[in-house]
């Protein structure tokens, strides 16, 4: 499920965001719902005195693991194999998808019930398998809604957060039946339950993602709320786990840090309803783990950007980001949206995702809430520099930034420019001030300009004694 269509052009984030902003009911709900998640996260944080220490520990554990990732992967693989798990390795999305298809074919399997996995989105696995005659059922409610609507998830934790209940009712009525006019969330969720459970019961193979892989014990840890991941893994005879290689943590005891942080950061709940640990197949069943690189080893060698591999996919940075809340996940045109998406996606395709690092006010809120202390806003800034240096800025932005750099480097030009701006704001007719020429006047009132500059005021009131 690729989010964009033309992969040769930069994602038009601003354009897509403008369309989202124009739809007032959706925008208002989206903004309010995500801010509510942020506030619930804060509430959880305040009842844990050691919260900041947990963040530091989580960051240090992840940095340590990434610095020896090859060793920990070998340890994990040995542990998993010893428990009868088949471990596969995939350099990229193509190898991952081919591995899944091979396992499906070996079992003459036609149906796959899967729980949430951003990695399979990243690999565009669903369209690939569908082309090969496999029927896939997304079993997480949000993912199911998005699958039925033919849309990518718009948020890594709450995939359909941009939809209102009426939207869900219409999608269901169109695809799996139901009354398009009954938008009661209880009725909709019940309808999803009674139509999805039979598909899980009939599935040939079940698939889950992974939140953590524990090197010491070979455990795959999956954190979910709906019970769909445990059903998908525990009903069919084959369980496939798709996991990015950065999911490793060294010790079981480290889960005592990460599990305490994950759901509190993500949803503001102390833990997910189910925190499940898979170390091997059930009697008479098979378990496969596919360890996927897909650009991660490349990023590990990038001095400025490797700390983004610490991400535990909680979505806190998205919930707190004013730009994300008011532009919607789909506007990023990428698998990962929000601040974390804006620093991950460019490492895959700097041209295509060149606009995303600019979808930020650099307020640093993302960095403040990140449970593993990724320096997200620093990386946003550094990506802007990389994009400018590679000549990937749009022409008008490149030109205006060059002029701004020239003006800001010269005190005389700066005084002239600010003087002119002050006069313009005070004396230009509204028709001109709020025209296309002034992007600062779009959708808002320009603040009243003072009569004189600070420099002039200071020269009058605080003359420098020589």
């Amino acid at each position: 499920m690729s989010a964009g269509t033309d992969k040769t052009k930069p994602v038009d984030h601003a354009g897509a965001a403008a369309a989202f902003v124009a739809d007032t009911p959706h925008l208002a709900f989206h903004d309010r719902r995500l801010w509510e998640l942020r506030q619930k996260r804060d509430g959880q944080m305040h009842v844990i005195p050691e919260w900041q220490e947990l963040r530091s520990l989580a960051s240090a554990i992840k940095e340590h693991t990434l610095s020896r990732l090859a060793d920990y992967l070998e340890q994990f693989e040995a542990q998993a194999k010893a428990r009868g798990v088949t471990v596969h390795w995939a350099r990229n999305a193509e190898e991952h998808n081919a591995t899944v298809l091979r396992i499906m074919r070996e079992h003459k399997a036609k149906t796959l019930a899967k729980s949430k996995s951003m990695l399979t989105e990243e690999c565009e696995m669903a369209p690939f398998l569908e082309r090969h005659g496999i029927t896939i059922t997304e079993t997480d409610l949000g993912e199911r809604i998005q699958q039925l609507d033919g849309q990518a998830p718009s948020h890594i934790v709450v995939p359909a957060v941009h939809k209102l209940r009426e939207d869900v009712a219409r999608v269901f009525a169109r695809t799996i039946g139901g009354d398009p006019n009954n938008a009661d969330p209880n009725a909709l969720a019940e309808h999803a339950r009674v139509t999805t459970r039979p598909l899980m019961l009939d599935a040939d193979i079940g698939m889950t993602g992974a939140n953590f892989l524990v090197a010491e014990t070979g455990a795959v840890v999956v954190c979910t709320n709906e019970g769909n991941a445990d059903l998908s893994a525990n009903i069919p005879k084959v369980h496939i786990v798709s996991a990015g290689i950065e999911k490793l943590i060294p010790r079981q005891a480290d889960l005592g840090v990460f599990i305490r942080l994950l759901s509190r950061s993500a949803l503001g709940s102390p833990i997910t309803q189910y925190t499940s640990h898979f170390r091997g197949p059930r009697a008479g069943a098979e378990m496969h783990i596919i360890l996927v690189d897909n650009g991660r080893s490349q990023r590990l060698g990038e001095e400025d950007f490797w700390p983004s591999l610490k991400c535990i996919r909680c979505g806190a940075c998205m919930n707190t980001c004013p730009v994300y809340r008011r532009s919607g996940g789909l506007s990023y045109g990428a698998v990962y949206s929000g601040p974390i998406g804006a620093i991950i996606n460019p490492s895959y395709d700097p041209m295509r995702y060149s606009t995303l690092p600019f979808a930020s006010t650099l307020n640093g809120s993302c960095t403040s809430v990140c449970p593993v202390k990724i320096n997200i806003h620093d990386q946003l800034y550094k990506w802007r520099r990389v994009i400018a240096e590679r000549g990937l800025l749009p022409k008008n932005k490149a030109l205006s930034l060059r002029i701004a750099g020239y003006v800001l480097a010269s005190p005389r030009l700066y005084r002239l420019a600010t003087g002119a701006a002050r006069m313009a704001v005070r004396h230009l007719p509204r028709a001109l001030l709020y025209s296309k020429l002034n992007s600062w006047g779009r959708d808002r009132e320009v603040p009243a300009a003072p009569k004189e500059s600070f420099a002039a005021w200071a020269a009058r009131n605080r003359p420098v004694k020589r």
Partner: protein, 209 residues
């Protein structure tokens, strides 16, 4: 070169410069005092309920009264001879029509109201998900204070499958409206009851483990 060797070689070649020592995990002061009360309160916040019985003998009558005779009930514990067992079941799908499953948790976690249930306690893992409702027996003496305490135990490596379950299945994927009963059980009730058959290899009091 195989994908495995290729990936491992690249990771070694591109590992970040600098020393990143693995931190020693400190022990944070956790919940003190009444662990049962804390467990109950935190489980309630996640949608689960707790029941206190006057004594062990009250368990069977309580379950019969609550569940009714007409319901399809399966239990995974060997301490309730009056109920049909799950271990006669071979296919996990066979539990699809179970109304209520009854299992015994190995221990609980006060910080979150979580229950430790492994393949050993569940016998058929789907009992905890395919049943419409789940009743979990828990020894009130077997509650550890925090999640970090739980992960210091070796119970997690005793079987291939372990879940920390905290309340019933839930979703808030439609407009953030909390709905208990997503794909798994619709309700989860903890009944505090000491086990009748104690496993001599395990200490009864988890806090001493």
């Amino acid at each position: 070169m195989s994908a495995r060797e290729d990936i491992l070689a690249r990771l070694r070649e591109r590992r970040p410069d600098g020393e990143f020592p693995l931190p020693v995990l400190p022990s944070f002061p956790g919940i003190e005092g009444d662990l049962v009360a804390a467990f109950q309160q935190n489980l309630a916040a996640m949608g689960g309920q707790c029941v206190h019985l006057p004594d062990r003998e009250a368990l069977d009558p309580f379950l019969c009264a609550r569940l009714g005779a007409s319901r399809l009930i399966r239990t995974s514990t060997d301490e309730l001879p009056g109920f049909a067992r799950t271990d006669a079941v071979t296919d996990p799908r066979d539990l699809e029509n179970v109304h209520t499953g009854i299992v015994r948790a190995r221990f609980g976690v006060a910080e979150t109201g979580s229950l430790f249930l492994s393949g050993r306690e569940l016998q058929v893992n789907t009992i905890a998900y395919l049943a419409q409702h789940l009743v979990v027996l828990l020894d009130p003496a077997a509650i550890v204070p925090g999640i970090a305490d739980a992960y210091l135990r070796d119970d997690f490596t005793s079987t291939n499958y372990v879940s920390l379950m905290t309340g019933p299945s839930a979703t808030a994927d439609i407009e953030g409206v909390m709905i208990r009963g997503a794909q798994g059980v619709r309700s989860l009730t903890v009944v505090f009851a000491k086990p009748i058959f104690t496993d001599p290899t395990r200490p009864a009091d988890a806090r001493q483990a």
